[in-house]
């Protein structure tokens, strides 16, 4: 897992660099869930995994409008995960084809599983993407529940867009939206 980018070490020796490198582990992010020998850290015991660990809203132009993850976990990792998932989103959209684009379902389903997470996607008609990352150990979440989460998110997002003071394209800073997202997120214990 990605540990936090802690850089408290003063920079006076090359030695400190090596130490820092140790801290900057970026391992365990490969997408093959078939790896049996990768040791899983006891992360799952840390929270009650009922809901999402990361929720992101991404603009049509693929920059983040809103991204929120469970605070104790590494934000950076989720940023990377969400960003990478955009490729899959695009693939899925383009797979539908031009003619069918109108009847396309907004919910894209599971984008891909990583070792620890499942990434789900949803694309509005205006090509705004919603991405929800859930813990893959979380078996209680059914497809239907994910779907309803997305629908809720979409509704709330529509409300944000309806706000005349919201400038489309700006990052979302809405309390209502925040609270909707927070309700969907795993509460960090």
């Amino acid at each position: 897992m990605l540990t936090r980018l802690k850089t408290q070490v003063p920079l006076f020796s090359m030695n400190s660099y090596t130490k820092l490198r140790e801290k900057l582990k970026l391992s365990g992010l490969s997408f093959a869930s078939t790896h049996s020998h990768v040791i899983r850290l006891g992360r799952h015991s840390r929270h009650n995994s009922k809901m999402a660990v990361c929720i992101a809203v991404i603009a049509k132009e693929n920059y983040p409008l809103f991204i929120r993850s469970v605070p104790i976990q590494n934000e950076l990792k989720f940023h990377y995960t969400v960003h990478t998932s955009l490729d899959v989103v695009e693939e899925k959209i383009s797979a539908v084809g031009k003619a069918m684009a109108d009847q396309r379902e907004l919910y894209l389903g599971l984008l891909y599983p990583t070792e620890d997470y499942k990434v789900y996607g949803y694309v509005t008609n205006s090509k705004v993407k919603f991405v929800i990352v859930v813990d893959s150990s979380n078996t209680s979440l059914r497809d239907n529940e994910i779907r309803s989460m997305f629908r809720k998110l979409h509704n709330s997002f529509t409300d944000v867009m309806c706000n005349p003071f919201y400038n489309p394209g700006d990052t979302i800073q809405s309390k209502a939206f925040d609270s909707i997202v927070s309700a969907m997120m795993v509460q960090a214990s």
Binding site: Y17, L26, S30, Y63
Partner: protein
């Protein structure tokens, strides 16, 4: 996966080649050593056969073998790699070294891939990966389940210089046999029990006897057959011959790798440190050799004679080099000429021929024979049924019962066949076929073998067979069957999970990925590669991840983000594997995707890593750039994170700049709000100096106020107009002392030499951590320009004057003092930047942070100040585009010296009573070295002050303020004795021009002694102030204008601003009314002019001062008037002899009579008439009284043509100004102070009250705006009210009249009706006597009287004509009668249309008729 140089077929072919061992005698070794090569190295460049070979397959078909390569290696009896799945340490070293040395070429060709809105610059090839793959495959350990890299043949090499070469051959042959069959060595492994032995006689042309060699060769041919031996002649280059011959060096591309490999082969014998040393050795030698070569080139070509000595010297050098520094990176293979130095091109050809001979005559027939043998065996066995085969296997299984594998093999799950097991024979045959490109046959053999192994549950063997089956299926010409990808997957999984042999799994994955790539199955390839990444090898994971990333980008729909993400993962693994360069490259490539797309957290992370990697790779510039990005972009990181970034940046930055102070690099922090930069020209102001109070002027501490600026500009325009005789020059530009974003910065500002320029820079800290700036100074450029002045000594220097930190809006002011004229450009800012200590106390005091900065990491850098001008929005083009105008704030032109005025105020009050007159002093001081002249002043309140009359040259009050103590500001005159105070009305005529003409008031000149101020000179002038009429706080602005005595400078004039705040408190309120007096002048004999004009003036004076404690009482000292037509006569107060005193809230009334005086011809002269109430007469016609009077009242000239309205109005106009001079007794600090003041009342209309205070208008209530068509302007028609004042009537009659009614019943009284025309026009008058008195009651009571005679008169009165009409009233009874019954109608003579208006009746005229009996 990146593109490769080789095609897939080539790659796979080259991965599996026939292996040939070499056993070399010592003498032969020596011969090759001359070339700095061993025998196998000598052969290596020629191991690829250029010509086609032919062989027959088991079915006797002739097959072509194309492009065959063989691998020749020295026999090494130690295992290079433990045959377990884990590669050894040395092996890893080798691989990492290979990858390390293979770096992308600097500025190499990169192709641009456009995916969506991304344009990525990615190198299409990854040579390091290919190098890695090649080394990896070459160093594959030989294993038991496959035979591909087992030795097929052995070259026995003996030198011709050997005493008995044949004996030596025998020895070597025995040696080979011993190695293969004694069982002492598990390594190397041999393909077939009877290995092909090929005897090579090596002849050194430079040394040995050629004939002897030939004879020995003949002997050998006899013994071993012509096909089994060879005479190789080398080293034919003689010392003299080849001096200038250019020999290509085919070894260079092989040798580096091979030398590494040989070290690795040596490796396990040595302890770990020595491996390091060896590694360094090679590169060191290389480096040295190239150096040596350079030397040789420089000295003499003859020195090439001694190449044979080189090895020895090299050895010595190696020993030396061992303890020196680590190798320079990527030296490449520089030791070009030292290899094969004794070989001519002929020798090269000989070697090539040798290999060809060996392969075609020796190796291929040998293989052919063996395939045939194996095939025969298999065919013979085919007779047995499969089931029987397996049954026998079970029954006679003793031989092939799975032996318990030894621990390090870890092949716990599978069988271990003995070497001669029949299953392995198939495999062996398959491998042989594969090596000689018989892929059809190979595939069917592998397929069979696979089935056998699987049925035996020999998983490792099965996996091997599967792998090779898949490969050979792929390589089959014409591809009769599709590539079985699932074979590969199974193989990989088996290798990895069952056999735990990662090396084999990796090989398999590499092959599979390459095949998939060739079939454009990038997604599958990527998955495969990603699956192969694991914790155990960072280097492998890194390389595979990178390849996976390339797969993603090469897909039909490029997956850019996946590419980037995997690049980051690869970069991370590279850095873990110590491949910093590769790591950096990966991050940089990934950066292209993340850059500027809003993923700031990821971007920061990448930038940070790039920064670190660049720094460790000694590319500090790049590191600095990367760190800059983290800091400049609005970071979303936490404050601790930012602090860490900052510290790191500073550290790196410090290492970059080092001692280089000349061209300081730009610092990203803190942000400079460049548009908020303010530039101030001039000295800093010291506002108070003792009791002197300097003019406030402009200072940097003031906020810019648009209204104020406009006001100042307006004032300046006025004063300039006044100075230029009423015309503002076209080039006029208002002086701007302080430039900011709102001022007009289009022109180059003008600064004066030797006067400082202060630049205020506003910083913004984008981080959440404090920054410390110190040692700020300005960076500037100066161009000398001669403005007709000799040049002076030195140019200005930058002095930091303040540095404020951590304030809410931190700003710094820096001063620049120009010493010469020219053009100055302020370019930027140089400063030290440091972060505060990480201890957490962020808000340090200045001192603390400075000391901290001194010891902590503080770096020096610059930031440019570039100010963007305002956006242009004039033309259409400008409106549609975004273009900005210039801003020249920071480019002042330094002009020759100008005078510099300093104004001080002495005894300047802050609070005044309304109308109070106070005297203060102004000191003008010329601070410069240039004479000053043309001093003028303009003010927003010109009625507030006066410098006295210019005509009365002698100042009336002492010039020095010291003697001023309770001395009246007014000039007084003792009343002549005998004259009753108040009764005298002295008249003085004063010209208005003496007190500064009306227009001259604004921007008036200041009376200086000689009109100039010499350098350093100062002069004091008295100044009278008069409290404003309105109570409250008044902001009064002065603008002093002055010029240089030397004309023609760039700056025409300079100004000095001053603002004072005066608090005015209420004093007296004066209301005055004028009434027409109906009485005729008492003295009939007075001048004709006066007969008509006489008025009563009532002056109501009220003390409205609210501070009872301060002001005790007011005295009305004098009342003066000023009018062209009227003059005030004596006071007709009831208590006229008393002083008029008013205590708080008291009200007094004064009455005066005013008479009309001769209309004066001189318009500008104002007669002052006085009607004092105190004994001392104040001369009101002098300074300051008159000054303030004139300043106050702007005579309104009725310039309009005399229309009827004007004419009518005129008759009601008074135009009399009354000046009330007062004294106030004020207690101040237990001392009684007498204050003096004056109030003005302008009487304009009769019967209309005028007040000294203009009543404050009630704040108008908000009215809804209504848009209506505008009403036509009302007719300028005089109102009835005005018209009724045209004629003044007066009845003259005796007050009482005695009449003996007894004698005469009718009493006739003569009454004179005086009609005086008030207007200046002819008036038609009708007098009607018929009317009854208005009040009917009086009629009843008193009876009536009648007018006798003519009852209606019609007449015409000229302008101001007085006419008397004699009337007679007839009374019947005694009594009191009102005579005021005549009605007078009047109309203007020429206005026929107008009807007559009834004129105001006079007061009741009562007459008493007494019956005198």
């Amino acid at each position: 996966m990146a593109q490769c140089v080789q095609s897939v077929q080539e790659f796979i072919q080259d991965s599996f080649v026939p292996m040939v061992a070499v056993l070399c005698s010592e003498d032969a070794e020596k011969v090759t050593r001359k070339n700095n090569l061993n025998f196998s190295e000598l052969l290596r460049p020629f191991c690829r056969l250029t010509s086609e070979g032919h062989m027959r397959d088991p079915s006797n078909q002739l097959q072509v073998v194309k492009n065959l390569r063989i691998s020749v290696n020295n026999v090494v009896t130690r295992p290079t790699v433990p045959s377990s799945g884990v590669p050894g340490h040395a092996h890893r070293r080798l691989l990492s070294e290979v990858v390390l040395t293979c770096q992308p070429a600097e500025g190499g060709v990169a192709n641009v891939i456009t995916a969506g809105d991304y344009d990525l610059n990615i190198s299409a090839t990854t040579p390091w990966f290919e190098a890695y793959r090649e080394s990896f495959l070459q160093s594959m350990p030989a294993s038991d389940h496959e035979f591909l890299n087992h030795y097929l043949a052995c070259l026995l090499v003996v030198s011709s210089s050997e005493a008995v070469p044949v004996e030596k051959f025998l020895k070597l042959s025995q040696e080979q046999h011993r190695i293969q069959h004694s069982g002492e060595y598990t390594n190397p492994k041999w393909f077939i029990p009877n290995t092909l032995k090929y005897y090579v006689l090596l002849h050194d042309m430079s040394q040995g006897d050629e004939q002897r060699a030939d004879s020995v060769y003949e002997d050998m041919k006899q013994r071993y057959g012509a096909q089994g031996c060879y005479l190789l002649k080398v080293n034919s280059r003689t010392a003299a011959a080849g001096a200038d011959e250019q020999i290509p060096d085919p070894w260079s591309q092989y040798l580096h790798k091979s030398s590494l490999q040989s070290q690795v082969q040596l490796g396990p014998r040595l302890s770990v440190p020595s491996i390091y040393l060896l590694m360094y050795r090679t590169s060191e030698v290389d480096g040295h050799d190239s150096e040596e070569k350079g030397d040789l080139d420089n000295t003499h070509p003859l020195q090439l004679d001694t190449p044979s000595d080189t090895p020895g010297s090299l050895d010595a050098l190696r020993a030396v080099a061992v303890e020196t520094k680590p190798p320079p990176l990527a030296t490449g293979v520089a030791a070009a000429t030292s290899h094969g130095a004794c070989l001519t091109l002929n020798d090269h050809d000989r070697i090539r021929l040798f290999i060809q001979e060996f392969t075609f005559r020796g190796l291929l027939p040998h293989i052919e024979k063996n395939i045939r043998q194996l095939n025969d065996q298999l065919v013979s066995r085919k007779g047995l049924s499969r089931s029987l085969f397996s049954a026998t296997k079970k029954w006679f299984g003793g031989g092939k019962v799975p032996e318990k594998s030894i621990a390090e093999l870890k092949n716990t799950s599978g069988l271990l066949y003995p070497p001669e097991a029949p299953e392995l024979q198939i495999r062996k045959m398959a491998d042989l076929c594969f090596l000689v490109q018989l892929y059809d046959l190979a595939y069917s053999c592998y397929h069979t073998a696979k089935k056998d192994f699987l049925s035996d549950q020999a998983m490792l063997y099965a996996a091997g067979a599967l792998e090779m089956a898949a490969v050979s299926a792929f390589l089959q010409v014409g591809a009769p069957r599709p590539y079985p990808a699932h074979y590969m997957d199974t193989a990989i999984q088996t290798y990895r999970d069952v056999s735990k042999n990662m090396v084999l799994a990796e090989r398999c994955a590499l092959l599979s990925a390459e095949v998939l790539k060739s079939q454009a199955k990038y997604s599958d390839a990527a998955t495969l590669l990603i699956k192969m990444t694991s914790e155990d090898s960072d280097l492998r994971s890194a390389l595979l991840l990178e390849q996976a990333a390339h797969c993603f980008i090469n897909m039909r729909n490029p997956m850019v983000r996946k590419f980037a993400f995997h690049m980051i993962l690869a970069g991370h693994r590279f850095s873990k594997a110590g491949q910093k360069r590769h790591a950096l490259r990966c991050y940089c490539q990934a950066m292209q995707v993340y850059k500027g797309k809003g993923w700031s957290l990821a971007e920061d992370h990448i930038n940070f890593t790039i920064g670190r990697q660049s720094f460790t790779l000694r590319q500090p510039e790049n590191a600095v750039t990367a760190f800059r990005h983290i800091l400049t972009n609005d970071s979303q990181q936490t404050s601790t994170q930012q602090g860490a970034f900052l510290r790191e940046y500073l550290y790196v930055y410090k290492n970059v700049t080092g001692a280089c102070e000349v061209a300081l690099p730009q610092l990203p922090l803190p942000c400079i709000n460049s548009s908020a930069t303010r530039v101030y020209f001039g000295h800093e102001r010291r506002l108070a100096e003792g009791e002197k109070q300097a003019a406030t002027h402009v200072s940097l501490d003031q906020e810019f106020d648009r209204d104020l600026a406009a006001m100042w500009q307006d004032l300046e325009e006025q004063v300039v107009a006044a100075a230029k005789r009423g015309v503002v020059p076209a080039t006029f530009q208002s002086t701007q002392c302080c430039l900011n974003s709102q001022t007009d910065n289009l022109r180059f500002p003008l600064a004066v030499v030797e006067e400082p320029i202060i630049v205020e820079v506003v910083f913004r800290n984008p981080l959440k951590v404090p920054l410390v700036l110190s040692d700020l100074s300005l960076l500037w450029k100066f161009t000398l320009k001669d403005f007709n002045r000799p040049q002076e000594d030195s140019v200005g220097d930058a002095v930091p004057i303040s540095n404020e930190k951590e304030a809410s809006v931190p700003r710094a002011r820096l001063k620049l003092l120009p010493h010469q004229t020219g053009q100055l450009n302020i370019l930027g800012l140089v400063y030290n930047l440091a972060s505060t200590s990480s201890t957490g106390d962020t808000i340090n005091s200045t001192a603390a942070s400075q000391t901290e900065a001194a010891e902590g990491t503080s770096v020096r850098g610059r930031q440019d100040l570039e100010i963007q001008g305002p956006r242009l929005n004039q033309t259409k083009e400008e409106k549609t585009s975004v273009s900005h105008g210039p801003d020249r704030r920071l480019d002042p032109t330094i002009t020759p010296p100008m005078p510099l005025l300093e104004v001080f105020f002495l005894q300047f009050p802050t609070a005044l009573l309304c109308g109070e007159i106070r005297k203060a002093y102004v000191e003008f001081c010329n601070m410069s070295r240039v004479t000053l002249c043309g001093l003028r002043v303009a003010s927003t309140h010109p009625d507030f002050f006066t410098f006295g009359s210019s005509s009365l040259a002698t100042p009336l009050t002492p010039l020095s303020p010291t003697s001023f103590e309770n001395c009246s500001a007014y000039k007084t005159l003792a009343t002549p004795p005998g004259a009753t105070p108040g009764s005298v009305a002295a008249v003085t005529l004063v010209s208005e021009g003496d007190f500064g003409s009306g227009t001259g008031l604004r921007g008036g000149g200041i009376p200086l002694g000689e009109g100039t101020l010499k350098p350093g000179e100062s002069t004091q002038l008295p100044m009278w102030l008069r409290g404003p009429d309105q109570e409250g706080v008044h902001e009064i602005h002065f603008l002093f204008y002055y010029e240089s005595a030397e004309k023609g400078g760039k700056i025409s004039h300079r100004v000095l601003r001053h603002t004072v705040f005066i608090c005015a408190s209420r004093s007296l309120s004066v209301r005055a009314t004028a009434c027409r007096s109906n009485t005729l002048p008492e003295e009939e004999e007075e001048e004709e002019e006066e007969r008509n004009g006489s008025m009563l003036v009532f002056v109501d004076v009220e003390n409205i001062n609210s501070s009872e404690a301060g002001v005790r009482e007011f005295h009305i000292a004098q009342v003066s008037s000023s009018s062209k037509q009227w003059r005030l006569h004596k006071c007709i107060n009831p208590a006229e002899d008393k002083d008029c005193k008013l205590t708080s809230r008291e009200r007094g009334k004064l009455c005066f009579r005013a008479t009309r005086c001769k209309p004066l011809k001189k318009r500008s002269a104002f007669p002052f008439s006085k009607s004092g109430v105190s004994s001392l007469q104040i001369i009101t016609s002098t300074t300051p009284c008159a000054d303030f009077f004139f300043r106050r009242c702007q005579p309104l000239d009725s310039l309009r043509p005399p229309d009827i309205a004007g004419v009518v109005r005129k008759c009601n106009e008074v135009d009399l100004d009354i000046i009330i001079l007062w004294k106030a007794f004020v207690v101040e600090d237990n001392k009684q102070v007498i204050l003096e003041g004056q109030l003005h009342v302008a009487l304009q209309t009769i019967d209309k009250e005028a007040c000294s205070l203009t009543q404050k208008e009630e704040a108008q209530e908000m009215v809804l705006l209504k848009f209506k068509p505008e009403l036509p302007p009302p007719m300028t028609r005089p109102s009835m009210e005005q018209l009724s004042h045209l004629i003044k009537t007066n009845l003259q009659y005796p007050e009482s009249y005695s009449h003996p009614f007894n004698q005469k019943s009718l009493c006739m009284v003569p009454v004179t009706l005086t009609l005086s025309n008030c207007s200046l026009a002819q008036v038609d008058v009708i007098i009607d006597l018929r009317h009854k008195t208005t009040s009917p009651e009086s009629l009843e009571v008193h009876g009536s009287f009648t007018w006798l005679g003519q009852t209606q008169f019609k007449m015409q009165l000229g302008a101001q004509e007085v006419m008397r009409v004699q009337l007679r009233a007839c009374f019947l009874h005694a009594g009191v009668y009102n005579l005021g019954t005549p009605r007078v109608f009047a109309k203007l003579a020429d206005q026929g249309a107008m009807c007559e208006t009834s004129q105001q009746t006079a007061t009741p005229a009562l007459i008493i008729i007494i019956n005198s009996t």
